[in-house]
Symmetry: D2
Subunit: 331 residues, 4 copies
């Protein structure tokens, strides 16, 4: 059965906030996100680079940390107020979830925790303000990404993940299920009034599949591809440009120097009214993955970033290799 969003969640999540990546060559990764993707560098310290989209007034939406091995350190969500952090802390304790108050530079009260399927997260209620750059058009480069929008996580148990986040108020906008069954293979959940803030798809997990920034329009998306090509990252596009059936996003996926994946996409449709039902896509419907064009690369389907120390589990829902390829539309 499909989980439904808790109308009175224990604390109020408002949006995707930031992602923290361990990278093995800090300068190279910074250059990639600044020059190839087009993000703004807010601040650099010896071991850390903070970046943001052009319209963002929050200090950072992407944090790069120098490390010996690449990893997805954590994804961050915003809650409305400091009181929500306190409420979240109590709720984690009640549930027996691994959690901890942490201090993060430029962030307000922050709570680190691990969700029911092993995703590493943190919640924060505020950040230092910095100027929005959305009218500094002369500083727009490449895709001119405007803001962090959502995360996609590969999970061994999409059903459990979806139930967990539904209880926290996230609402299913679209989902993938095995034909004729209730088996959830993918769930697109939202909290900010459009298609998704957090996505879980079936596979070996938990692993961060990608984080996504919005771009102003289709031209920006193609310009990002052109700039990627010009700067030697043309082969690091592992999917797109294309149009997903699910969510209707016009997308481009890029791999960074450590093979973390970032998506650029144009905006969502609005999803606010309670009478709207989530859209179901059968696994056998290839239009779910893309309305047109060439299939994604194999590495888009099977590669993702692990969370440090978190064991990766085989998916509960399995399919034969052939069926899986058919589902994925990869050949």
């Amino acid at each position: 059965m499909l989980p439904t969003a808790n109308p009175t969640p224990p604390f109020v999540i408002t949006r995707a906030s930031h992602v923290v990546l361990a990278v093995t060559d800090l300068a190279r990764s910074r250059d990639f996100y600044r020059d190839v993707v087009g993000l703004v560098v807010t601040e650099e310290t010896g071991d850390t680079v903070y970046l943001r989209g052009l319209e963002e007034s929050a200090h950072h939406s992407l944090v790069l940390e120098r490390a010996d091995a690449a990893a997805a350190l954590r994804i961050g969500l915003r809650v409305r107020t400091d009181a929500d952090i306190a409420a979240a802390e109590r709720w984690c304790a009640d549930r027996g979830l691994v959690h901890e108050r942490v201090h993060r530079a430029h962030q307000g009260p922050t709570l680190r925790f691990r969700d029911a399927v092993g995703t590493h997260l943190e919640l924060t209620s505020s950040m230092d303000l910095v100027p929005r750059k959305m009218q500094c058009f002369d500083e727009f480069t490449s895709g001119a990404p405007q803001r962090l929008d959502h995360f996609q996580v590969v999970s061994h148990d999409v059903q459990t993940a979806t139930g967990f986040w539904s209880e926290l108020g996230m609402r299913l906008a679209e989902f993938t299920a095995k034909d004729g069954t209730d088996e959830l293979w993918g769930s697109w959940m939202e909290v900010k009034g459009n298609t998704h803030d957090l996505v879980f798809t079936n596979g070996r997990g938990p692993r961060l599949h990608h984080f996504a920034y919005t771009v102003p329009d289709a031209s920006s998306l193609l310009h990002a591809a052109d700039v990627a090509g010009a700067l030697g990252f043309g082969e690091e596009i592992d999917r797109g440009p294309g149009r997903h059936g699910i969510s209707n996003a016009l997308f481009l996926y890029l791999r960074d120097p450590d093979q973390h994946r970032v998506e650029l996409f144009t905006t969502h449709y609005q999803f606010i009214d309670l009478e709207d039902e989530p859209i179901r896509w059968d696994l056998s419907n290839a239009r779910r993955a893309q309305l047109w064009g060439m299939p994604a690369s194999r590495r888009w389907f099977f590669e993702a970033s692990e969370f440090p120390g978190e064991p990766v589990r085989e998916p509960l829902l399995q399919a034969s290799p052939q069926t899986l390829e058919d589902y994925l539309g990869v050949h």
Copy 2:
């Protein structure tokens, strides 16, 4: 002093829902909104045409009603649930506001009322669902408007209007004030997490200045202008294409056959975090109206649609004709 959004409003408004216009030639107005603007006709009856944007699943966001005289009949807002309609009804009664439960075809419980500055409105909690057309790309025409986004109302008393709607939970994202004073000349208020859902600007009011639909990108905006030109409505563009300083919208304004005004614009920036402060624009700052380009036409500034039977009052805040022209940037 700036009003602040009530964190616990008496009922929950979620978004701009629809606008109802009295038009003197129903077929001609339908053709305009379908062919020149690009909206989808959901349904036609003898005296009424219902239209919507391409991504909308709600039955209508624009209603045209045949009438002897053109007028803005009312603007509609969505509330979250039926219980919010009941709460709104009690609140209107407590405040002594003119209000009435009404039946509207294809809408759930609906409450008609008049706000503190005379704007004619209605609230509804649901609508009949119809298919989203966002992936029927072969049906996209002209600007391919995706969804109704916001309303702008000219008011004789922006301060009172802003206070009224702040109490109902609307939050100021940007505002215009006379240099060195707190005099509110314009307020951009939001409830759905981006720049504005309801705007009030100083002038003879109440009158509906425009309602606005989002378009996919800048190319769509220019294509709408080209189509307007091809279909003989080229002179009915009374502003744009241009870029507002306020809200950063890339805009195009069109007048319909009764001179009601519709805006097409690309999307907003996100405005969710509570630590964000509203952006102040001094009246003397011409970049507030547009970051570049030619001034708006005089009729853009001074013409708007009246609400039937509602007296139009002179603005409380006045300026000399010369100063006013300077403020407006019209010459």
Copy 3:
């Protein structure tokens, strides 16, 4: 050695004019080119449909003829005047080329002939004029193709083809050659002042690989892909959207119901000055095929339309299967 353009050719070719295709389901092919590609139908007779791009004043640039079997019947080039047709006829006779004066509806004097590598062509000096539709923006659909631009032919002997057309005044703008050698694997030749009007690439030939129409911009290209998807032709995109290194074209390739291939692309760079040298691309340089993104499909590389009755020959230049795949960048 690279052929150079004859500065005083025997007759003056001015541009790519039209292509004539045999199709097995006339109505279905017409619908494809009108609705999925966006061409204008100029005229329909019982067995023939004439189409053109939106800016074209010539009666047709694409002719579909009902047939039992699909084929590329011929490609058409324009010459400047009727006198050029007469000169071409003499030249064909002198060379012993198969040729014939033919009558074609809506065309001026027309000469059918076969080039040195077996390509079926015709030359004409004028066409009936019809209104340009470039300002009928309300009639733009899908990619809004503006004009026929060029042809690409697969040939068993690119060197001979290039020499033949150079003598007729065509000038090499770019070419592909095997690393460290003069072996011509592909030649992009132009006569109208930008990158190419006629292209030959190495392979089993002669076969028509594609004909290409210009589109106004990148947005149109993506809209064509979206419309193709919406109308059930999403899997008939066999390459793109992408950016060729050669010629810098932003491209999309579509297969019609008979698997003829049409390219939509944004415009060329200008190539007029005599001091400009042709750009050489080594076969081993993958950026030649695309500056970024996913490789083309296998069918893009190996499928093309045969000319009726014309034997298809194996290419003179051969490579091992592995090397060939490396050259093509297909996997």
Copy 4:
């Protein structure tokens, strides 16, 4: 009567080549053309800056020369070969036109001359080659102008100018004439196969109204406007974005720090076939100036750059001030 293009001109002009401007603040003008317009700086010397469009392989298409007073020094056209320069020299001598062989850095043989209506020009047959930057997408800024395309000159005698250039092989693509008469008020003449390379319009002249660069698409045009706004040149847009009826160009006009005017526009339609007739626009037809939108500013109509030492004459064709305003569509 309309002049017709000489099919065997005394020498072969191929395209608009370059423009040379006297500017009063060399660094400021360079910054404008590089940062606000987006041109590439090829070379700087103490008193001169050479710039070009991103796709251009010729050393310069815009030359800025430090001077005490702003002026349009000359416009440059390309001829095919050195022999054409020699032929042009003889022709000027035969006609008794002011002319002179000059040495210009980075140019081949160059002939300075003055046309029949006082326009200052030079012809050259070649330039030093530099790398095309069209695939250096990471260096694209603002409008990403690709190449110089055409010039517009205000002339006191459009009829004479048109006759002069027709004799040199230029062909009328579109023209403006007073209703019901043959009075030529504007002529759009081409030599490179699309709408225009050289335009003359009626008014006080000779003065250079503008020179124009192509941009990749509508998005680039709007981005240039945004960048102009961001860099403080928002009020230096004196027309557009808009769509001309004549030539169908989507345009934006900017004034540089000395008030020289540069146009950015998307590409032309093709104009090659001899059976195409020039398009006539009646002066009373406002769609000729723009298919939609707001009228141009007064300064767009009446301001232009003088050639040094060249007397400016009143136009032979006059209209009453009211009629003139009606013609121009300026109010």
